[in-house]
């Protein structure tokens, strides 16, 4: 099926976004970091078990501000993808990220997160080391960190593993990314006992940037021009830079205690009952 045919049908439209979010040549956290920040100093390891390359943490400069950057990385080449565990973090990745959050608060640096994961890794070792617990703790750290947090969903927003990095003061989403409670394939195999019905599930789950903007969960959607990939991303990077810059100008003026309060009001205000 060609892309044009798909565009005519809404069912396939959501599914096309999912496929687009997973494309190998889609820009990843490292591509954005290279374009947006300078003087990047990467912070490694969780000081407990190891270093998880599926989550990058770094300190760097953004337009005269020192910022903390946290990004989920899937990898482009096969070798890199294996090192990054295909973007599926283990508990040590989230622990490293919590270190970065604590230091951001200590030094008054804003935090910029790039979300791109099919999900936290579902494995025996991950469970034994408390995958659920670290995501819970990471959410709590994001909820209470006394510094501005901006998150950008750049590709796959897969369930709890993505949500951990999405509890932010400002949530931005790329046009062809998705954010969902479960993968369309997982949803289809549970509900319809048939994972080939993923296209229909993708539509029902309302997981596109457009849907999330409508629910007011996402604050801003960045457009992707035709032919957008990691070699042709400058236009969108300019938009992201402007968006981050505007948000930081606003958020950095809010006192540290008040920022947590505002975050709380934002999320608890989403009553939906």
């Amino acid at each position: 099926m060609s892309l044009n045919e798909a565009d005519q049908n809404t069912v396939e439209k959501s599914w096309q976004k999912v496929l687009s979010a997973r494309k190998e040549n889609r820009p990843q956290a490292r591509d954005y970091i290279e374009k947006l920040f300078s003087g990047v100093f990467e912070v490694k390891g969780d000081r407990c078990f190891g270093d998880d390359e599926s989550i990058i943490t770094a300190i760097s400069w953004f337009e005269g501000w020192p910022v903390t950057v946290i990004g989920q990385q899937k990898g482009h080449t096969l070798e890199e993808r294996m090192r990054c565990n295909f973007g599926m973090p283990h508990p040590e990745g989230y622990r490293k990220s919590m270190r970065a959050l604590a230091q951001a608060e200590k030094f008054g640096r804003p935090v910029i997160c790039f979300v791109d994961t099919p999900g936290a890794f579902p494995g025996v070792e991950a469970e034994a080391r408390g995958q659920g617990l670290v995501i819970a703790e990471h959410l709590k750290a994001m909820a209470t960190v006394k510094t501005p947090v901006i998150s950008i969903i750049i590709g796959e927003g897969g369930s709890g593993g993505a949500l951990a990095l999405s509890l932010a003061d400002r949530l931005i989403m790329m046009e062809n990314s998705y954010f969902s409670v479960i993968s369309p394939e997982g949803c289809a195999s549970i509900l319809y006992k048939d994972s080939s019905m993923a296209e229909e599930a993708a539509e029902n789950l309302k997981l596109t940037a457009e849907d999330l903007r409508r629910f007011n969960i996402v604050d801003c959607v960045i457009q992707e021009p035709k032919g957008f990939d990691r070699f042709h991303m400058d236009k969108s990077v300019t938009d992201i830079r402007r968006e981050i810059s505007q948000s930081l100008n606003r958020l950095m003026r809010v006192p540290a205690d008040r920022i947590v309060e505002k975050r709380r009001e934002k999320f608890l205000g989403m009553r939906g009952l």
Binding site: P122, E127, Q131, G132, L163, V181, G186, R263, L273
Partner: protein
Amino acid sequence: MKLFTEKIDTGISVKRKENTDVQKLHCSKCGKDIIADIVHANDSICPYCGALFRQPAYKRIEMIVDSGSFIEIEREAESKDPLSFPGYKTKIANEKTKSKLQEGVVIGKATIKGVRTALAVMDSYFMMGSMGTVVGEKIVIITEFATLNRLPLIIFCASGGARMQEGILSLLQMSRTTIALAQHGEQQLLHVNVLTHPTTGGVTASFAMQGDITIAEPGALIGFAGPRVIQQTVKDELPEGFQTAEYLYEHGLIDRIVDRRGLRDTLADVLALHVRPETQNVKTLIKEKVDDVFKRS
């Protein structure tokens, strides 16, 4: 006359229905099929082999709190269908009839051996205790209630995770409950979790793992990813007893495993240990608690 006949008819049909449609539960340990009411009258424990069945929320509350002390909040809250997800409305209606509940969690306040506490009890007989907007909102409401009234909060977790049919709005509840609980904690108030079978997915990855004290029931399945998903990923046999309460205890992820019939005593002890000196009548209260502990040991 017509009315009279109708009355009799209705009475009989209801009676027949009860007789032919007795709900039975299957014990996976000893293989027996037992009438649900009998199981639940026995604290939802198999009368033959002692295996634990999932316990309905109101039965749980009855077992844990002081008799007559429970006051429910937000009983009527019910799920809408925010995504217009195909089949969801029908599913909710069926679950309501089947479980006689409005949603997958019951919240309120009560006393346990005289100590006041806020309480949330999830019920896995309602859509496997999955967390949608209403479950999330009720957890937020009871947490805010506990914060405002300076009460400890006990949550009995039982959940298959975030509810698919409410999509991203279910996932959002992980953030919302976390934020509400963080505020509760900042006020130096106690949060105790009791993890019951099953506690998985988005609930494990949010409030179920954020307690000051975490207790679990024996044999309960507790984890982030479901065992089937893990097996498909690793393509290998899972270790024996993987993701059980005992496995988590061995890996240092929970504080204690407590048998269902010991939970009331354990929770009372934990609550008493966290009573602050500024609380009213604290001396008599503490004395009673200490006496109670010694009596039992």
